[in-house]
């Protein structure tokens, strides 16, 4: 099972903003127990999406505060879907079930 791509403030523009796919960004932190526990759920989500249209990345908020500040990420985990360089309005904060994450991606077009 491939690991989810880790992006940084340097690679965020290329991997997320300039992507031609919908991108689910998982904002996480090392001190956050739900973030750690979400890893297998996110991996399972990756096998449940149309990889031609959607991709999933994660970004550590402590090491990339410029990005987390820009998108006003306060609590972790925070899940934001991006398309064409912009974040969708609805986001999810806290540990999530697989279904809720799938809906977040699907319902925002």
């Amino acid at each position: 099972m491939r690991d989810i791509i880790e992006v940084t403030s340097e690679t965020f523009e290329e991997e997320v903003l300039n992507s031609n796919k919908k991108v689910l960004v998982d904002f996480w932190a090392s001190w956050c127990p739900p973030c750690k526990m979400m890893e297998p759920v996110i991996n399972r989500l990756e096998n449940n999406i149309d990889k031609d249209k959607v991709k999933i990345v994660k970004i550590n908020i402590d090491r990339n505060s410029s990005v987390s500040d820009k998108y006003s990420v306060k609590g972790v985990p925070t899940f934001i879907v991006f398309k064409n360089g912009d974040p969708f309005e609805n986001r999810l904060v806290g540990a999530q079930t697989l279904n809720k994450l799938k809906k977040l991606i699907e319902n925002q077009k």
């Binding site: 403030s9 090392s30 526990m37 979400m38 399972r44 402590d62 090491r63 505060s65 410029s66 079930t97």
Partner: protein, 492 residues
């Protein structure tokens, strides 16, 4: 393929390492939402306390296997002369761990207030393996292992002394063994319940504050206990402290992930309550101050040997057998050696997690070698075998009879505790193996055999019989002082 036993922490970076200085480069805020001072490169930089000449650098850049301060050992990469502080160094586990760490090249320092020695004697009992005084132990460690242990007398509740000690030592890892570990002791009366809770909870709290002020990049290995969780009658698995990501709560038409939340606690004595409280102290300080902690939910430890303890009798760790301080496997072995019936409470179907002292020490060293992330609180279920009390007695009887010609007797007593005697019990215990490369080096029956072999000696039998009264279980959870009724006596 990596040899996980030695390489489990090869890819850790300075981000995990206690030698790194975050202070001054990180602005800590509540709930761990840190903001970083931007260096010239616009990214997080830190300094190394061991190699200040390096200046500022990216903490993700160097891995343990590439860092010159780390040496490869059988338990993983360890900081050269890692400064490990063992609180409660004089105890059953503390002394065994101190020797093992010293042998691995760690710079071991530790304190003890010798409360355990005092409380066991007050019970008119004592360790049946003779142990040296503090000075004798220091000398023995030097003579037989060539290690220098800085072992001082101190009560960690004396926070002035504790803080000065932290300031002087600047530990790189802390093992908090300085707690009263007895469930029955905590149930005797209000004074002992208060003493247990005060000693354990306030002690740990003080250590957390000392860490914040003097060694915030250091991890605490907090000893919890499997007894924090209780034994849920629904039979749901006992996860490792925190719910996995796909655990969900369903209510009405909605569902929520429980991922990362603390699993329910259901303690079984005031001692176990103190452990639950200690869990919360430590969990909070990780949140408030970015401290790092492993909560080690330890199964019942048994056995009396590690390679380091074996080197010479002067290095013995204590071996308690009375009803307050002797844990069940050790106590059953002692009872059988002395020709006293093994005392099972109620049906004997109660199940618990168990681990030998050698395996427990291996786990602790691995966790010391592979610290949590900054601000991370994580939980490990430190267990190798799930056994019923009845099975333990039957096994001690079997080996005692067949290998040593003993005449074991089992006695079932009215259960003085408030606990489920019939209950499902599924313990999840994967992390120590998967994350830390733990591999059990011992087997339950081998360890029983080994203990009997060491203890079947006339002088030890005589000493155990001397403490027969202290061995007899009497302490009821109700507080009532009354002999326990015998339900059944038989020879297995």
């Amino acid at each position: 393929m990596n040899d996980n036993k030695k390489d489990h922490n090869a890819n850790c970076t300075c981000w995990n390492c206690p030698a790194v200085q975050f202070k001054g480069h990180v602005d800590f805020r509540a709930c761990g939402q840190a903001a970083f001072r931007k260096a010239a490169q616009g990214q997080l930089v830190v300094e190394c306390k061991r190699r200040p000449e390096i200046g500022l650098f990216d903490p993700m850049g160097i891995t343990y296997d590439a860092c010159t301060e780390y040496k490869s050992t059988d338990y993983g990469y360890l900081l050269d002369k890692m400064k490990v502080m063992v609180l409660g160094i004089d105890g059953y586990l503390g002394w065994a761990l101190a020797l093992k760490l010293g042998k691995l090249g760690c710079k071991v320092t530790g304190v003890d207030n010798f409360l355990r020695r005092k409380l066991v004697k007050e019970k008119s009992a004592d360790t049946i393996l003779p142990i040296g005084s503090r000075e004798e132990r220091i000398k023995a460690a030097k003579e037989h292992h060539g290690i220098d242990i800085d072992f001082r007398e101190m009560d960690i509740l004396n926070r002035d002394s504790l803080f000065k000690y932290f300031d002087e030592t600047k530990p790189e890892s802390i093992v908090q063994y300085a707690e009263i570990p007895s469930a029955p002791y905590s149930m005797v009366n209000v004074d002992k319940a208060v003493e247990t809770i005060h000693n354990n909870v306030i002690g740990t709290l003080g250590v957390s504050f000392a860490m914040k002020d003097y060694s915030p990049e250091t991890s605490m290995l907090k000893v919890g206990t499997m007894g924090e969780y209780g034994s849920p009658l629904t039979g749901r698995p006992i996860f490792e402290g925190l719910f996995p990501g796909d655990a969900t709560l369903q209510y009405g038409d909605d569902e929520w992930s429980l991922g990362g939340e603390l699993t329910p606690r259901d303690p079984v004595s005031f001692y176990h309550v103190s452990k639950v409280q200690g869990t919360f102290s430590v969990y909070e300080t990780c949140k408030y101050w970015w401290l790092r902690a492993y909560d080690v939910m330890q199964g019942v430890v048994y056995g009396l040997h590690t390679p380091e303890l074996e080197a010479h009798p002067s290095l013995n760790t204590r071996f308690d057998i009375d009803e307050w301080w002797g844990t069940v496997v050790n106590r059953f072995v002692a009872q059988t050696v002395a020709g006293i019936p093994m005392t099972i409470f109620g049906s004997g179907n109660q199940m618990r997690g168990y681990i030998t002292i050698e395996d427990a020490m291996q786990c602790m060293v691995r966790m010391i070698a592979h610290p949590p992330e900054p601000g991370q609180y994580d939980v490990m279920n430190q267990v190798t075998d799930v056994l019923s009390v009845g099975h333990i007695a039957a096994t001690v009887a079997k080996i005692g009879k067949s290998e040593f010609g003993l005449d074991p007797v089992i006695q079932r007593l009215e259960n003085p505790r408030v606990e489920a005697e019939e209950h499902p019990y599924e313990i999840i215990h994967d992390k120590l193996r998967e994350k830390f490369g733990f591999h059990s080096e011992t087997k339950f029956e081998d360890e029983i055999y080994y203990m009997l072999k060491k203890l079947v000696k006339p002088e030890i039998k005589e000493q155990i019989r001397k403490y027969k009264d202290a061995l007899t279980p009497r302490t009821r959870w109700s507080g009532e002082v009354k002999e326990l009724k015998i339900l059944e006596t038989y020879k297995p």
